[in-house]
Symmetry: C2
Subunit: 426 residues, 2 copies
């Protein structure tokens, strides 16, 4: 890990000078992985972001294939060795590789980003305790959290086929909804379309069926994190979700940022994970000494909106919420991995977990409109005079995520944005 620690040294700078700007998401300490192409006729290539450029790993001679899922399946030691090679070749005054790396650099402005990997299975967790409490309160004011919440890292399976990379717009979903005062449901475009502020967890090396992953080993199976927006149609959800959970209310689209920020890059931002006094301690299979000491990650998060009217008027995205992974999450990434596999379930490289909605403890830190508007009862006001309860056609939602603290270089997650289009069925 000493070599890896050198890649995190805050004094390290790159000969790619845009990587040394204080506001870049992609300094040399970050080095996130993604898939890109210069035009839609060529296959996806594997790249690492550095400043405003992308390093093509195969062109740079660092790997000999272009299969991201194969890269994700590497053992942690090999992943770290690759990171060290990339960092050493990109650092200022490098004695090696500079010419080969220069030939393998492409401007981010000239490329299209794809889904970062092929996702076999996507699981959405529900680790945001303030979200679970706020949503529960809408249904059960006196008993918002269900009895299992503080014991079980609740999760459910989602749909892989409709995971989209940032920038992919989608039509407003149609479906069955039933008004409380109506005898029968109607079929219509969702009138309560919402976003969900989440992080994505990208699985690295998998496990065979029947072989659970222990807490001590869990993070070795995680490649890194992304931003994740799990769009939700609240009216469809309310009518369909009993007794087997959300289905069409969620599986029309989910948006992922294109860059996987690695666990190595996140390591300076680890925080203590500890249950407050009075909270039940996790069952032994969900406990570990190292996880308690450093299992949480201090990722700062924001939600921004740009309506169609704002876009027409040339107004930028406007912040409507902010949060933080550590404050929001009741369970750690390691606990998600271990719980998911404890029954023998297998994970495969490239599988994705959503964290669940990461609402902060304060009302203005809510990660969904359902919470921000108290179930649609209060509007939120935008500075151009528009109001919103749920999303309108033409609304674009952007998520932002970054890590910063004194003594470390700020790293960012890049872009996670998509626009709601009119329904495709009349």
């Amino acid at each position: 890990m000493e070599a890896c620690n050198e890649t995190l040294n805050p004094t390290r700078r790159s000969w790619v000078t845009t990587a040394n700007l204080s506001d870049t998401d992609f300094p040399i300490q970050n080095l996130p992985f993604g898939r890109f192409r210069s035009n839609s006729n060529e296959p996806w290539r594997i790249g690492v972001a550095i400043g405003d450029m992308v390093l093509d790993l195969k062109a740079a001679g660092l790997i000999h294939h272009a299969d991201m899922n194969q890269l994700l399946s590497m053992k942690k030691e090999d992943r770290v060795a690759l990171r060290v090679a990339i960092s050493n070749g990109l650092k200022e005054d490098t004695p090696v590789h500079r010419h080969a790396f220069e030939q393998a650099l492409v401007a981010q402005s000239s490329i299209e980003m794809g889904m970062p990997c092929d996702v076999g299975d996507y699981t959405d967790f529900y680790v945001g305790i303030h979200h679970a409490t706020a949503v529960g309160k809408l249904f059960r004011p006196d008993n918002p959290l269900l009895p299992n919440y503080k014991w079980v890292p609740i999760g459910y399976h989602g749909r892989s086929s409709t995971l989209n990379v940032s920038g992919t717009s989608f039509p407003r979903p149609c479906g069955q909804v039933k008004a409380p005062d109506s005898e029968v449901p109607t079929f219509q475009p969702s009138a309560r379309l919402d976003f969900e502020l989440e992080l994505g967890v990208v699985i690295g090396q998998g496990n065979p069926q029947g072989h659970p992953i222990s807490m001590e080993d869990a993070e070795n199976h995680v490649f890194g994190l992304t931003l994740f927006n799990d769009w939700s149609a609240r009216d469809i959800q309310a009518w369909e979700y009993q007794p087997l959970g959300p289905f069409l209310s969620k599986n029309f689209a989910s948006t992922l940022s294109p860059w996987i920020v690695t666990m190595e890059a996140l390591s300076p931002f680890r925080q203590k994970f500890k249950r407050a006094d009075g909270e039940p301690q996790p069952l032994p299979y969900l406990s570990s000494q190292s996880n308690s000491l450093q299992g949480a990650f201090d990722v700062k998060l924001e939600v921004l909106i740009q309506t169609e009217a704002m876009r027409q008027a040339g107004l930028p995205f406007e912040r409507i919420s902010y949060s933080n992974f550590t404050q929001a999450a009741y369970w750690t990434v390691a606990q998600m991995v271990t719980h998911h596999t404890v029954n023998g379930c297998s994970l495969r490289a490239g599988d994705l977990f959503g964290s669940g909605t990461l609402s902060g403890p304060k009302p203005e830190q809510a990660g969904s409109l359902l919470e921000l508007t108290q179930g649609g009862k209060q509007t939120i006001a935008l500075s151009n005079g528009e109001k919103r309860t749920f999303l309108q056609d033409g609304d674009a939602i952007a998520l932002k995520g970054w890590c910063e603290k004194p003594g470390a270089v700020r790293i960012g997650f890049g872009e996670c944005v998509a626009t709601v289009m009119p329904p495709s069925v009349a």
Copy 2:
């Protein structure tokens, strides 16, 4: 379709003489698709079952690749043309192909069957109304069916990575369970392990995201059906499933039969699909004239058990339940497809739907032990003197499915069997 109709002619016989036996699952009228290999060092090949043999489609010159998902994605016309070519080459007194086909035949006894395709997304529906009613009754005696059941084809997402082909044993899952009289949950092997009698629906040609599939077009996107056992840990399920549905209680293993019985082979066994008087008519998007006239399929089903003691004593599998797709299902295959995509969700070739547990109307026709034993309160007696509430280690469960009626040749689904092994975690 005239050429296809000839492949269903009950007088058609094959020069593969075992296909002409009255008790074979695989007469020339069936021709189901699967993947096989002669040993574990070779790649999967695409085959069609005929009697006790398999026809290797590539070796026979009928296709030029070995990619089942590519084959599944064919348009219906091309799929029918392939069926006609296979049937014509296998029929008695064929003027063509016989020599090439003979060279491409392999004995089923000499091969290993694989998963019939790569499943991208797996969705489990809940169309068995007698199952939904019986399970609901255990929780809500006065109001067993939830208000949405007769309007929404209820479904939820399952796990693709733990779908196994028939013959794959799996360890009993461990997980959190909480006794009703206990304050806190414990971690232990499931004590209420169950099977679920289902059919699998294998998607053929997919649809792009944002483009729903209409009822009239729905069956064109279905390649065929399989047997499907969605193993379930009832104690884990009871504690984890609120509010987002089943997760670890289901995703440890599901078992699929290796042969996809095509919609063409099933077509003689179509039946009228009609709502009884007093039942709500489906919303317009779930209605179609052709579906009402012929949307259901008369597939006969059985569940059999062989315990470890029975195996040791040389006793065969013993039937513990029987059912029928038409009687059990409140929604058709076409309605599942259309509902799943009506919000813009995309399906891909090889995606799998489970039907949900297909319990018949009588108590002895229940498709799970949960129902057969009234939630574990009554034992079922086996003829060797053993009793069961839920499954014991060493129990093997086999599903059987077939279609028969006067004037048509019986077709079968082949084998869907797996054995419960001891838990892999102490």
